[in-house]
Structures are given as structure tokens and as C-alpha cells.
């Protein structure tokens, strides 16, 4: 019985995840190149030079400390959300609520960070604000987890609905209770994340995110929790037989995922915008999913993917300025990259299967 189950389990694990990382990296690289080639066609269609465009988009932001700081502004939330949704993806859960959870996290940071509470707590408001942000993000995600576990309602739908609700709730908060002055935005929070370098906006958030990447790696690879989580993603039936309480793990996965996204929101406020206002979560909720996917849920991969996506975002204005390509090209490029990577993954999976049969 046991051998049958483990064989069953192994077979059901995505073939792709069993490939050597070198091969995986190669596939990802080829996919990105492929997408960029197709993107070049679009660039040529608007009479611009693809090489120039990609230079400004990808290389230029790396050339000065100031622009690296801007890259960091995108990198940190992308990495955090990417890690967060990776937790759930391991269990084949889709947390599409990154945006809502980020917003709640941002709210948490703001509630503690602004006067009068911020004044009373001084520098401690930063830490406590971040903690509250983590908690609120986790709670928001837990709602969806609860619905999934108790009512078998698709977390896809619930997290999406919660996004809209969070948006309206934040809108209400910045317009009434938290409004400072005439604009619908909160007051400035008292303590910001310390900067790492003068003359650039790069701040401690990057360090926090990288440390959490290590935490992610440890939890997923070396703990029993991580193992069961991945097993759940492989085959739910097998996991049930091996004594894993599906519901509990689903719920915990959603909780942790929300915590990460909440942290991303808190970092947005304390590292970037300083005030809470509508739209602070941008589209990180979805871009984070792309990051997770691009990085194929591997810690190093996620970091590289987040960096790549951050470069694209940060470099888009420079690209537009120098080549005239509209900034919306960025999202088209993102989508193309995803499609190509999915193609690459699928092709390689088909190939390796054929090899096995022979």
C-alpha cells in the first residue's frame, strides 16, 4: 500500500518541479528572451528601437544609486507578496487577495504610525505599526481561508471580493476618520523605515524582505509544515491518508500568505508613500503572483523574478522618455513573459515524460 501511495504522490508532483534547477533556469531565461523578442515586434510597430528600449528598461535603473532606490521601492513589495502567494501556491491554493491584504497592512501601519499614537510611541511606532500591518493582512486573508475551509467556497472568488471591499474600506478611512487636511489621505506617519544610503530611497525594507526570503526557504524546505504544504499541493488524497489535516494547513497557509502581504503594505507606507491613500497597493497583488510564478516558487527564483519585475517598472518611465514607448507596454511585456514561461514549463514537462516512457 505504502509504496503505491508514494509512487502515486511522486508522479502527481509537477514533473517540472523535479527538474534540476539549472535546467529550470535555462527554461526561464529562454522564455524571457522569447517574450522580449515578441515584445520587440510591438516596439518596432511604434517605430522605436528594441535594443534601446530594453536597455533603458533593464540596465539603466541599475546604473545609479538613486535609481536603484526606485527599483527597491518596487522590489520590496513584489518580493514580499511573491513570497506570500508562494506559500499558498505550494498547497495549490490561489490567493488572489494580495491587494486587499496589502491595503489592510498599510492601514495597520497608518493607524499606529500617525499622530497621536505615533507621537506617543516615537520610534517604536514603526515596529508596532508593522506588526499590526502583518496581523491585519493575515486576518483579511484568514477570512477567505475560513470560507474555503468551512464552506468550500473558492478562495479565488472570496479573495477577489475582499479586494474590492478592502478598497472601499480604505477609501472610507482616508476620507473620514483618518483624513488629514483636505485631501483624502492620512497624516504623515511619524517614523519611517531607516534609509540605507543617503541620496537614495532604498531602505531597510529590502533587508527585511531578503531575511524573510530566507525564512521562506527554511519553512518550505526544512520543516514538516512546509513538507505537508507541498504534499497538499501534490495530491490531496495522499496527504489525507498520511494524517495531514487539510483544513488546518489550508487555513494556516492563507494566514501566512496574508501576513506577508500585510507586511508589504506596511512597508509601502513606512518606506514609500508615508501617507495612507487610495491605491497604495497598486497592482502588486497580481504582479506578486507573476513573481511567484516566474520564480517557480523557489526562494532564489522569486528574488530574481522580483528584481526583474521591479526593473521593468522602475525603468518604464526612462524607457518612455528616451524612446516614446508608452508605459502600458510594461504590462503587455509582463503578460507575454508569463505566457512564454508557461509554454516553456509545459514543453519541458512533456519532453521529460516522453524520455521516461522510452
Amino acid at each position: 500500500m505504502k509504496t503505491g501511495l508514494t509512487a502515486h504522490l511522486r508522479e502527481n508532483l509537477n514533473h517540472y518541479q523535479q527538474l534540476a534547477w539549472a535546467k529550470k533556469a535555462l527554461i526561464l531565461l529562454l522564455s524571457v528572451v522569447g517574450a522580449m523578442l515578441v515584445g520587440s515586434l510591438l516596439i518596432l510597430a511604434v517605430n522605436a528601437d528594441p535594443l534601446e528600449a530594453y536597455y533603458y528598461m533593464l540596465i539603466r535603473p541599475l546604473t545609479s544609486i538613486t535609481s536603484l532606490g526606485e527599483v527597491a521601492m518596487y522590489f520590496t513589495p513584489l518580493l514580499l507578496v511573491g513570497l506570500g502567494v508562494s506559500f499558498t501556491f505550494h498547497a495549490k491554493l490561489s490567493n488572489l487577495g494580495g491587494e486587499g491584504q496589502m491595503l489592510m497592512g498599510a492601514l495597520g501601519m497608518t493607524l499606529i504610525g500617525v499622530p497621536p499614537i505615533g507621537d506617543k510611541l516615537g520610534p517604536w511606532s514603526l515596529l508596532l505599526g508593522i506588526l499590526l500591518g502583518i496581523v491585519l493582512g493575515a486576518v483579511w486573508s484568514a477570512v477567505a481561508g475560513f470560507f474555503r475551509v468551512k464552506f468550500h467556497a473558492s478562495e479565488i472568488v472570496v479573495t477577489l471580493m475582499l479586494n474590492y471591499i478592502a478598497e472601499q474600506f480604505i477609501s472610507y478611512m482616508v476620507f473620514y476618520p483618518l483624513r488629514s487636511g483636505a485631501e483624502p489621505q492620512s497624516a504623515k506617519i511619524v517614523a519611517m523605515l531607516p534609509k540605507l544610503y543617503q541620496g537614495s530611497r532604498i531602505n531597510l525594507g529590502v533587508v527585511i524582505a531578503l531575511v524573510l526570503t530566507a525564512v521562506y526557504a527554511v519553512v518550505i524546505r526544512r520543516t514538516r509544515f512546509g513538507y505537508h504544504l507541498r504534499a497538499l499541493g501534490g495530491s490531496q488524497k495522499a496527504a489525507a491518508y498520511s494524517g495531514v489535516d487539510k483544513s488546518r494547513y489550508f487555513f494556516l497557509a492563507m494566514l501566512i500568505s496574508g501576513a506577508f502581504c500585510g507586511l508589504a503594505g506596511a512597508v509601502q507606507i513606512s518606506g514609500n508613500t508615508r501617507r495612507l491613500m487610495e491605491g497604495v497597493a497598486g497592482d502588486f497583488g497580481f504582479s506578486g503572483i507573476v513573481v511567484a510564478m516566474l520564480g517557480s516558487l523557489h526562494p532564489v527564483g522569486i528574488v530574481v523574478a522580483a528584481l526583474f519585475m521591479a526593473l521593468i517598472s522602475a525603468g518604464s518611465v526612462t524607457m518612455q522618455v528616451k524612446t516614446g514607448i508608452p508605459v502600458s507596454f510594461t504590462s503587455v511585456l509582463e503578460a507575454l513573459i508569463v505566457l512564454f514561461i508557461l509554454l516553456g514549463m509545459a514543453v519541458s514537462a512533456a519532453q521529460s515524460k516522453r524520455k521516461k516512457v522510452r
Binding site: 470560507f147 479565488i156 471591499i165 472601499q168 507573476v290 510564478m293 504590462s331 508569463v338 508557461l342
Partner: protein
Amino acid sequence: MGTGLLSASFLTALFASGVRQSIPLIYGSLGDAVSERAGVMGISLEGEMLFGAFFSYLVALRTGSLWLGVLAGALAGMLSSLIVAVWSVLLRQDQSIIGIMFNILAVGFTNFLNRMIFGTSNANITLEIFQPLAIPGLSRIPVIGEIFFHQNILAYLSVLLAVAIFWVLRRTKLGLQLTAVGENPKASQASGIRVYRFRILAYMFCGCMAGIAGASLTLGSVGTFTEAISAGRGFICLAIVILSRWNPLVAVAASFGFGSIQALQIRLQVQGSPLPYQVFVALPYLVTILALAIGGRNIRAPRELGVPFDKESR
């Protein structure tokens, strides 16, 4: 202020508006219901609706025919869904990721096309939209007549479609096979049903419906294409399908419910209310979650919904 709220004229107008706003939702959820029965989630509904909205407007404008526009919209939705279908079914990748990326692609691409073809200004090229069609006899029933039988032809068609789909799903071999594919693809494959083919076709049907839903926005409501005109309706359809337990007829009722809530939200604001407007905007989504909580106890999704099926696996 609240005196007019329960009057016949207010309620009639409210629900009539509810029907109008439910039309894109009905088409979208019908398509998604079929597709989910077969095991594929319609997360890319939003993007397909956009493609449908844009191309239906373009074709209707150029040819002068609204029906050609609807056809074009359906085709656009169907063809664009092919991408998602191939990736999720054949290449067996995660449906939610593809869906999301496709939606992002759709917004960018339709905006790009819109600007390329129409420049930055097409608001004054408004089409003559589908006019309300009164059904003889039935439309004269007080209240009910005005609400349900004074709508445009796309509305009537949607209900007919719902009935047809319901019948196909329950009573025909095709429908039963479709359900089997979603419940137990392995057994279906073993008994000779071509699972991949079914899923792809089901998904393309969903895309076709989504395209018509988009067309109903441009050709049945506003008369022109504005960027991101779908405005989240695709996601509401996903909720409707769950709430209606994948039953097309109930989906029509649920869509009507949603459309009416949207209509109500507006009218409550018009009547004047001390509540902040954000409450009203959030209302449909809050109601969804509530409905999922209340009615959610016995929801049984198609067993293999969202799970990629591998033909080769034993």
C-alpha cells in the same frame, strides 16, 4: 425621503434597471457555468469581455450592423479564450495565473488597439444601440410587464440561452458527458470521452458568451467603447456561478439579483443617505460574501474544478 422607496413606480424602475445591468452578468455566468462544469474556471472572463466589447463596437461601427457586431464580439471572445484554453487544458498550467495574466493583457491590448484605431477620442462616435423590445401581450402586465418584457433583445436571448443550456446539461448526452468530465476526468477518459476536447470546447463556449456580454455593454448600453469598460463584471460572474450552484437558471436569477443591487445602490444615493458612498459601492461584494456564507453550506463544486487533467497519468 424614504416614502417613495416602496412605491410601485420606484420598484418597477429599480428592477427594470436591475434587468438591464444583469445582461452582461447573465451571459458571463452562463459561459462560466458551462466551463466550470467541465472543470475549467473562467477567471479570464474579464479579459474576454473586453475583447468582445471592443471588437463588437469596431465591427458594428464599420458595418453599420449591430448583429454583425454581436457576432464579432462572440468570435473575439471565443478566439481570445483559445489562448487560455490551450494553456490550462493542454499545457496543464495553473488556471488562475493564466487567467489573471490574460486579463492584464486584455486591458493593455484593447487600450492599445483603441488608441491606434480611434485615436484618443471616440466618444462622439456613438452607435444607435439595441432598443427595448416590448413583447406583445406580456409587456402589458402591470409592473412585471415593464420590468421583464420591455428589455432589449439581448436580454430575452440570454434567458432563452439559459433554458437551452439547462436542458442540454440535464437531458442530453452531451451535457452528461460534460458533467462527467468535470467530476471524474480519469474515468471519462477511460470510457472514451475526449476530456481535452471537451474542456477546450467548453472554455471556448465560455469565451463566446463573455464576448457577447462585452458586446451587450457597448452595443446594448453605452453605445461606444470606453477603456476598461468591463469594470470587474467578469469576477462577479465567478461568484454568481458558485452561488447558483452551477445551475444556469439559478444563475439568471442571481444575475438579476446582482444587477438589482447595483441599481439599488445608485438609487439609495439618489434618495440621499447619511451613509458614506463607499458602503454603497462595496454593497454588491459584501452581499456576495454574505450569500456565500449563508447559502454556502452545501456547495459542491465539480470535483476536479481547477485541477489540470493529465491524459497520461494512471
